[in-house]
Amino acid sequence: MGPLWLGMLPFAVAYAVTARASGLSVWETQMMSLTVFAGASQFAAAGLFAGYGAAGGASALGIVATTFLLNARHLLYGLSLSRQVALSHPQRLIAAQFLTDESYGMVTVRGTQEPGGPSFGYVLGAELSLYTVWNASTLLGAVGGAVLPSPEALGVGVIFPLAFLGLLVPMLRGRMTMLVALLSGLGAWGLSRLLPGGLVILLAGIGGALLGAWLTSKKTAVREAGA
């Protein structure tokens, strides 16, 4: 688990610094980590909040819709986890709050080595340890960031794309994924000259994922026709 905690720490600190630079209070920054608890979507929202309420900036609907889209993948983790671990109804209500990419990966990769497979206790233990580290690091960044000079002077704006690039690069396996990433990115850049921030991410995100799904189904159809 150690490497997972160490990986979370700088990301949570960077999220908190970005959120504070966008005008969120320490409490609002922390509240998002306590409730939403989903790194990429929190970071995205932190960036979008920078233009919140201003002309041409992201709207509340844009931020919420982007969050929904980014976190829809948790449906897949839930589907997969529920086939590996038998959970009662109250246990599902609790486990759902703390489910993340990291805890899903942890349970899937390591949990199967447990005698009798992963239990609810194992799942919750993995989830809560990550939750604790994420929230402690958020507090560190939110409070620590307040004593630092202005965001422009520090150049922290560049941390936002850098952190996302760090998440994207390991996902780029195969030509199809690279094509989807390239077209979504360039599409978003083109759209950003015409539309507000939140909507751009939503349109480019849905468009890119539809393209990927369409390319995948076409490839499968060709393979089946050839067999």
């Binding site: 995205a44 980014l70 449906l75 839930g78 529920s82 086939r83 794309p161 760090g166 990433a181 921030g197």
Partner: protein, 98 residues
């Protein structure tokens, strides 16, 4: 709408996806929509990165930082190292007046 209210709504759209998945263990999604959900993080994250780099007044510095950061993550597989490497490159260029 207050920022706190937006955060509560963000929670309200995140939790149900997690809970629903845990309750649908026996349901099979059509392959097209499984693929769609798999591609969403790639397309959304790419859409977040590119306008922040190319649409910025300091786009050239950010582009150089991104190249260094991206290559560092690719070679090392370490997210923190990638952020630090990219940030260092950004500051080298900024200090040199580029």
């Amino acid at each position: 709408m207050t920022i706190a209210a937006v955060i509560v709504l963000m929670w309200a759209v995140t939790y149900p996806a997690r809970w629903l998945g845990l309750n649908l263990g026996r349901v099979k999604l059509p392959p097209f929509w499984l693929a769609f959900l798999n591609f969403v993080p790639v397309s959304v994250i790419a859409a977040l990165i590119v306008p922040e780099v190319l649409g910025s007044p300091e786009w050239l510095r950010r582009l150089l930082a991104s190249v260094v950061g991206g290559l560092t993550v690719w070679r090392s597989g370490n997210l923190a190292l990638g952020i630090l490497g990219g940030f260092a490159a950004y500051w080298v260029v900024r200090t040199l007046g580029g």
